[in-house]
């Protein structure tokens, strides 16, 4: 049968590093840094990660073989015909496995994120171009359905005038590489929302290790420790590395998510969606992100958080209708709100310890409300 179909390539050309999926015929060349090196027989086969690959796939051990080809040829005929693998597939599989870290790759730190104005739901032009820098905290306010999600989605997919809003997103002043736009690794936004949970059944430390591994960090242990320390400082109640994720309280797991996003996630932009009342020290959480040079987008109607931003974007009818910078009075009010928040935190802590809250009101709230 001749291979005349659009994407048909022979095994030989696959081996030569040609990707059948790369030649779909849609005219797009994909950034593929992950080709099997030249031929499978030359694929690096001395790394301990090769052992990991074999183990994961329940394949016989590497033994003394120095190339994948030699290892393959040493296997029995039965194995080679019935294991569900063939050599080409093995080359591809190993290359993907070894290349995964590079694919998740560390991109150069973001210097600026620019959002050029688009149009609202009726097609009327938006009024503002926006420029965000690392360490900026920006709040998004507006009723449900106003277009907050679309605004964030425009950033997520690095819109180039081709989304319903017509916005254009520039990174460091330039249009992003088109190939990176429609792939998870090209995405720059990490999210923390009210609805998120840990679903993995693992102790905290093991989970953090798993995340650190995907980042191929030089010092995964110290990165893990930083996340853990930060999370404990934000959450009211301490927890340890051996605590199972699924047993964390709401506040603890939110704190861990925040610390992880600040210190372990490679995404330069963090979106926080409605995390009020989660039992987390929110002011401290923001400080972590700012210290790490993240651009923080807060979708919130919590007064303390909303006033913490250097800017407040009011979104209505699908467009940014207003950009509010806090006035001196708002700033003064924020300081008072923060004191009130700490006060409330102490009341929560007293309840946790089994105390009564029965002193007179003035004493209970102290100077915070006066």
């Amino acid at each position: 049968m001749s291979e005349h179909n659009a994407g048909g390539v022979s095994c030989r050309s696959l081996l030569a590093g040609d990707s059948e999926r790369g030649s779909l015929g849609n005219g797009e060349s994909r950034a593929s840094t992950l080709r099997p090196t030249e031929t499978g027989s030359e694929l690096a086969f001395t790394d301990s990660r090769c052992d990991e690959f074999l183990l994961l796939n329940k394949l016989p051990s590497r033994a003394a073989h120095r190339t994948l080809r030699a290892w393959w040829e040493a296997q029995s005929w039965d194995f080679r015909t019935e294991s569900g693998w063939d050599f080409e597939r093995l080359v591809d599989g190993l290359a993907a496995f070894l290349g995964a870290n590079a694919a998740m790759g560390e991109s150069a730190p973001l210097r600026s994120l620019e959002i050029r104005r688009g149009r609202d739901k009726s097609g009327r032009p938006e009024q503002f171009d926006l420029l965000f820098k690392p360490g900026d905290v920006v709040c998004l306010v507006g009723p449900t359905g106003a277009g907050k999600s679309r605004f964030l989605a425009d950033i997520e997919c690095l819109a180039q005038g081709d989304t319903p809003t017509g916005r254009v997103v520039l990174i460091d002043g330039n249009a992003p590489d088109p190939d990176s736009r429609f792939t998870g690794e090209g995405k720059i936004v990490a999210q923390i929302t009210q609805n998120m949970n840990f679903v993995m059944d693992l102790p905290v430390a093991e989970f953090l290790k798993m995340h650190a591994e995907s980042r191929a960090l030089a010092a995964p242990e110290s990165a893990m420790q930083r996340v853990l320390d930060a999370a404990i400082r934000m959450a009211g109640e301490p927890f340890g590395p051996e605590t199972p994720l699924t047993q964390l309280s709401g506040g603890q797991s939110r704190a861990l998510m925040i610390a992880d996003a600040a210190f372990l996630s490679p995404k330069p932009v963090v979106l926080i969606d409605e995390i009020e009342n989660a039992g987390v020290d929110r002011t401290r959480a923001l400080e972590f992100f700012v210290d790490q040079g993240k651009i923080v987008l807060l979708s919130t109607h919590d007064p303390l958080l909303a006033l913490s931003g250097a800017r407040r974007l009011v979104i209505r009818h699908g467009a940014v209708q207003q950009v509010i910078e806090p006035s001196p009075q708002e700033e003064a009010n924020r300081v008072r709100l923060a004191a009130l928040d700490r006060r409330l935190g102490r009341l929560r802590e007293r309840l946790r310890l089994g105390e009564r809250l029965d002193e007179p009101w003035e004493q209970l709230v102290g100077e915070a409300l006066t």
Binding site: G184, N195, S214, S265, P266
Partner: protein, 233 residues
Amino acid sequence: MKLVTVAGPPSSGKTAIILKALAHLQGAGRKVGVVKFDCLASQDAERFRAAGIRSITGLSGNFCPDHYFITNIEDCAAWGRREGLDLLVSESAGLCNRCAPHIRGHLAVCVLDHLAGVHTPRKIGPMLKTADVVLVTKGDIVSQAEREVFAFRVRQVNAKARLLFVNGITGQGSWEVSRLLDAAPDNAPLTGGKLRFSVPAAVCSYCLGETEIGEEHQHGTVRKIQIEEAHHV
């Protein structure tokens, strides 16, 4: 006409994300259809009809679902052409994870969901490994960290695919998916084309309706599990 194969475990959100993505294409004036391959039952035809999408349902019943798919896809594509479709989506559940309905030269999509856990990408097999686009659903309810680990694990088995987080309920990411569907290869030949991964080789007595258990009933190609005995001292 473009033909796109979409595969993924049951209840991973294939139909939901297809509906959302196709709505964008319908809005752009494209004529779209879906053929749904399933084993025993499917209620999705109703959902497609409600969305104004032409659809047919194929139930494999007693037949191997993957064999059933490959022996019928040409007829389905011919139907799509008669209907004047711009895009036909073939949707099938990943029935045993051993197979994949993906065809060379045609855009291949795999749908996975975060709730299945971070070990899932390692268990899925060719349906994921040979896909051009991997859509991961239900990311709104798991932590960002788990999403990143999941993406990494997908990368470990498929280095080349485009990987997108989508939400079949809110439609987040569906616009991006619609762009990818719209850029799928057009009029790629099907007859004479090739599956990206072979279907199983076994032809045994159970394939032919045997139900009795026991060595004497096992004929044809059978494979025995290798059990390593512990060495008792």
